[in-house]
Amino acid sequence: MKAAPFDYLRPGSVGEACEALAADMEARVLAGGQTLVPMLAMRLSRPSRLVDITRLEELSRIDRVEDGVAIGAAVRQCIALRSDIIASDVPLLAAALPHVGHPPTRARGTVGGSIAHGDPSAEIALAATILDARIMFLADGEEEEFSPEEFFIGPTVTMAPLGGLLTRVVFPSRPSGRVGAAFHEIASRRSDYAFASTGAQVVLDGDGTCTDALLGVGSVGDTPVALDVSALAGTRLGEEDIRGAVEAALEDLDCVDDLHATATYRRRAAAQLAAQSLRNARDRAVEETA
């Protein structure tokens, strides 16, 4: 388990990084390396060159921007987990982050790396999908933007432009009103690859009526998916409302079968966790003072 030979480059700027990536289509970005390095060791990934962006200051910031929160590609998950900006402005991402890996992997793993890798069970990718975050690349000197729905196209297969560099992910800020978010997942071991994962965000008006609801499911199919639960708007998110919405939303959900969990199990677990996420999101929104 030794990597095949490769070159290593640590560029001093985003510009240099982009140049290096544009010059060599076999180059790969090294961000946190929590997935890439094991894949290198097993020779499942054989890049000609690693472009190490972990020390680029420009990519290590969490900023409030006009339409949301921009998280640099090299922001480590442990930093995101402790970010006050994310906690207050992107509560769904804040709810998802504790489920990402373990403390040692979060200490190196990055938000950008998780998105770029495109694992269908990645919590950050699911949060981005539910919230319709904007995935920003620099390629050929141009900024290119992807929605999660167009970006994630299969298990660890994405629309990342050749020779491009993921620079940041912009998560929309929480809407106004009373907002609650929740994230749940199930695996056979704590923080292992989930068999099913769900996230939900709801907005309530002053008297507790839902004005908006978002739901998404990860880990069950080829990509994380956002599900339509707009029917919940106008309800008070009662048990029956939630059950009906989840049932309808999951009707066409494709689930995979593997050694560790059957498709029937994934579907059943996803439905249960989806309802739980919506309930918990509702309860958190209720706790918010109008």
Partner: protein, 800 residues
């Protein structure tokens, strides 16, 4: 043997003393194979077969050999022409095994060529360049399919896939079935899992042409390792020198290492340079010695309405993988405890082992006992369910009673001692069984699935390897001895020698404690050394839960010999009869209370030949080779005294899970453990906790699973799921001591404790929780999806 042995009150034995090995491991100062660097050392990487079975048409190493730093590439044809086949425990001469596949490979991942280079990284680069041309052959993965008429034979020369098929009838089985009120049948399957050491196997071989000796440093736990190397490499026994002063980073059976060592030894001789082979995790899991038993049990049990279990028929079908090796013997060890702790009058046992195109099965903790205990205990649960009797009451009804020891079971083994009722009573009381039941009912009322599991089972320990002659009449083994030497130097200090490697069992603590106890010397002052194999007394490595009994016995007896010699010298100096003298912590005491000090005795022994008793040799040293207690005869009429000592454990577990997500949580875990006199309590505690964690993995998570194409799906920690600290609960250990009458201090084995009963207990708890739905999940590991899907299916049919 008469009456129960007395409790041993020691000065050092059983006391709360630190494990002497721990500081060097905790501080990072162990010395593992990876830490040993030999000048000019070369490194090996392996080329693995892709298909589960394929004829090797041609191996072209030219591209690899053209790379700078690549020294050699060898294949099975070259190797098999130069070395003897590896040891085969059975009498199946046409099932031959070499370190590299010869002519065809027989499982996906099998090594077909070895690349030798200046660094391991270079060797891996070059291994990719070796071109292997093959023609795919038919293959078989499933043990039952392998048995079918017309199944593809894994070894065509052998003619079928059947390696072993022996049926034993112990007692009046048919009569007992006929006279019983009732009977039932069940099938349970033990999935292919293992122990997974933190350190993979590694070996360094170096041929010294001037001394004509092969030096070997290895991460090894293999009986008769040096002999096997010499036989395979066609060397004299004294041309192999295994260095035992190498720390082994975990094993519990799987550090077999013989094919790796023969390969590295051949290369070292051929190339004239030291050669190192350290498996990476992929090589280890896919094609090393990583896989343990995989077994289907078909059981028929006969019993009366009052719960008395009279007879059992058990067929155990073991999937041995691609070659024979020692694995089929894992069907033999359980013969020594085939009725568990119960008075079952008669047993029919059919042991079957078949080859398949899977990685070779190797020894794993318990050597086949854990699967068998799981089968027996699941059987007891089913009988209780069937009769509507409480599971504990059913067990109590059938337990061997304390006044019945030594108790001979139908297969001919005598259990030395035990008080199973006392252990169970303690566990129920100290573990608060009533509270546990209340907690279970409370959880059920909340809508959770909750269940309690129990398991009572034995750990046969210190055996004679009697399963070898029992299963293979050509094998005449009747000893599995262990030697130790105690030496007193000219300053009067004590050194004891261990003649094997250790893989975490704390043998240095064991030997020092035992010798310190006998000689009355602080064990911290006792030096422990490990000579190499050429400087060692015969031994059989730490397998079969034997070292407390066998090394403990050898070291204690050698120390007793030192005392005998000291008394002889002291008595001579006092002009007294040795029979009138005694020994106390170094001092020899004569009649009337006269004393000769230790320094004086040492001085005489080392310097003053003229003061020694006539005919006494100088020096103060003793060697002792311990024979297995009870190991007097070969098996006869299909019966054997398999093990001398029988430890007992009783598990009590509370499991809870939600019906849809179905993730079993171990809410309470209590184990009662009786391994006789404990030499060091910390070591026994560590064994037990680790064994339970291992059992949790076997029950819920771990499996070397193959897909329909014959490919191993779980070949890294991504898919081979081991329990982490999150999944292992706090465990309450309830201690009990019934000394063995057969050993020095009353000790029994404890190296397999915890693991031998936890799968049965956890599985039993899950089934207790599933009772309302009437679900049986008969295969380990029990995955969450299986539980949830079964509940959903039962509810669709209207249960409960």
């Amino acid at each position: 043997m008469s009456g129960p042995a007395k409790l041993f009150q020691g000065k050092y034995v059983s006391t709360d003393r630190r494990v002497r090995e721990d500081p060097r491991f905790v501080a990072g100062h162990g010395r593992f194979v990876q830490d040993i660097d030999r000048p000019g050392m070369l490194h090996v990487a392996l080329v693995a077969a892709q298909a589960p079975a394929a004829r090797i048409v041609k191996i072209d190493p030219s591209a690899a050999l053209a790379m700078e730093g690549v020294v050699d590439v060898i294949d099975g044809a070259e190797l098999s022409a130069a070395v003897n086949p590896l040891m085969n425990g059975l009498d199946t001469p046409k099932v031959q095994r070499f370190p590299l596949a010869v002519g065809q490979n027989r499982y996906a991942g099998e090594w077909v060529a070895a690349v030798v280079a200046e660094t391991r990284a270079l060797a891996e680069d070059a291994a990719e360049k070796v071109r292997v041309e093959t023609e795919k052959l038919g293959f078989v993965i499933d043990a039952e399919q392998a048995l079918e008429e017309g199944a593809t034979p894994v070894h065509p020369e052998h003619g079928s896939n059947l390696l072993l098929d022996r049926t034993f009838d112990w007692g009046p089985v048919d009569e007992d079935f006929a006279r019983s009120d009732d009977s039932l049948k069940l099938r349970v399957t033990w999935g292919r899992n293992s122990t997974v050491p933190i350190e993979t196997f590694g070996v360094i071989c170096e041929w010294n042409a001037w001394e004509k000796v092969l030096d070997v440093w290895a991460s090894i736990q293999m009986p008769k390792y040096a002999d096997q190397i010499a036989r395979a490499l066609k060397l004299h026994g004294n041309e192999v020198r295994v260095h035992y002063d190498v720390d082994v980073g975990g094993s519990y059976g799987v550090k077999r290492g013989i094919k790796q060592t023969v390969l590295a030894g051949y290369l070292a001789r051929k190339l004239g340079r030291p050669v190192r082979l350290i498996e990476d995790r992929l090589e280890n899991m896919r094609s090393g010695d990583a896989h343990g038993p995989e077994r289907i049990f078909d059981i028929e049990v006969a019993f009366d309405r009052d719960g008395t279990v009279n007879a059992m028929r058990m067929r155990a079908l073991d999937n041995a993988g691609a070659y024979a090796g020692r694995a089929p013997f894992q069907l033999g060890k359980p013969i020594g405890a085939i009725v568990g702790p119960y008075r079952i009058n008669s047993v029919q046992y059919r042991a079957m082992s078949v080859t398949t195109n899977k990685a070779v099965q190797e020894a794993v903790r318990g050597f086949g006992q854990a699967p068998t205990n799981y089968a027996i205990e699941t059987m007891m649960d089913r009988v209780a369910d069937h009769l509507g009797i409480d599971r504990l009451d059913l067990r109590q009804k059938n337990l061997i009673r304390p006044d019945e020891f030594p108790y001979e079971i139908p297969s001919g083994s005598k259990y030395d001692s035990g008080d199973y009722q006392a252990v169970i009573a303690k566990v129920l009381e100290q573990g608060d069984y009533d509270g546990m039941r209340a907690e279970r009912d409370r959880l059920r009322a909340e809508g959770m699935c909750a269940g309690i599991g129990v398991a009572a089972c034995l750990e046969p320990s210190g055996g004679n390897s009697s399963f070898e002659p029992l299963l293979n009449p050509a094998n005449r083994t009747s000893t599995w001895m262990e030697g130790s030497r105690v030496n007193i130097d000219a300053l009067g200090d004590v050194t004891v020698a261990i003649h094997t490697t250790s893989s975490g069992q704390g043998h240095e603590t064991l030997a020092a404690t035992v010798v310190g106890e006998v000689l009355g010397v602080d064990p911290d002052r006792v030096r422990v050394v490990r000579p190499d194999s050429l400087g060692s007394l015969p031994g059989n490595s730490p397998v079969g839960s034997r070292m407390a009994i066998m090394l403990g016995g050898a070291a204690a007896n050698a120390a007793r010999d030192i005392i005998r010699q000291a008394i002889a010298i002291g008595a001579h100096l006092m002009d007294a009869d040795p029979g009138d003298c005694s020994y106390d912590s170094g001092t020899v005491i004569g009649p009337g209370g006269a004393e000769i000090a230790w320094t004086e005795i040492v001085d005489v022994a080392h310097r003053r030949f003229h003061d020694l008793p006539k005919g006494t040799n100088p020096g103060l040293t003793a060697s002792f080779i311990q024979q297995v207690p009870t190991g007097e005869t070969l098996p006869k009429d299909g019966k054997a005294q398999m093990y001398p000592c029988y430890s007992f454990e009783f598990h009590l577990v509370l499991v809870a899970f939600a019906p849809v997500l179905a993730k079993p949580e171990l809410r309470r875990y209590v184990i009662g453990h009786d391994c006789g006199t404990v030499i060091n309590p910390h070591i026994v505690k560590g064994m037990t906790l680790g064994g339970i964690a291992h059992g949790i993995g076997a029950t819920l998570l771990e499996e070397f699973a193959y897909d329909g194409e014959g490919q191993l799906m779980t070949q890294s920690f991504l898919d081979y799921l081991m329990p982490s600290s999150h999944e292992v609960p706090e465990v309450q250990i309830v201690k009990h001591c019934t000394p063995s009458p057969l050993t020095e201090f009353g000790q029994k084995g404890s190296g397999e404790s915890g693991y031998l009963g936890s799968p049965a207990a956890i599985s039993g708890a899950i089934h207790d929780a599933l009772k309302p739905w009437g679900i049986h999940l008969n295969k380990l590991p029990i995955r969450m999806a299986a539980i949830s899907d079964a509940i959903a299916a039962a509810e669709e049919k209207g249960h409960p």
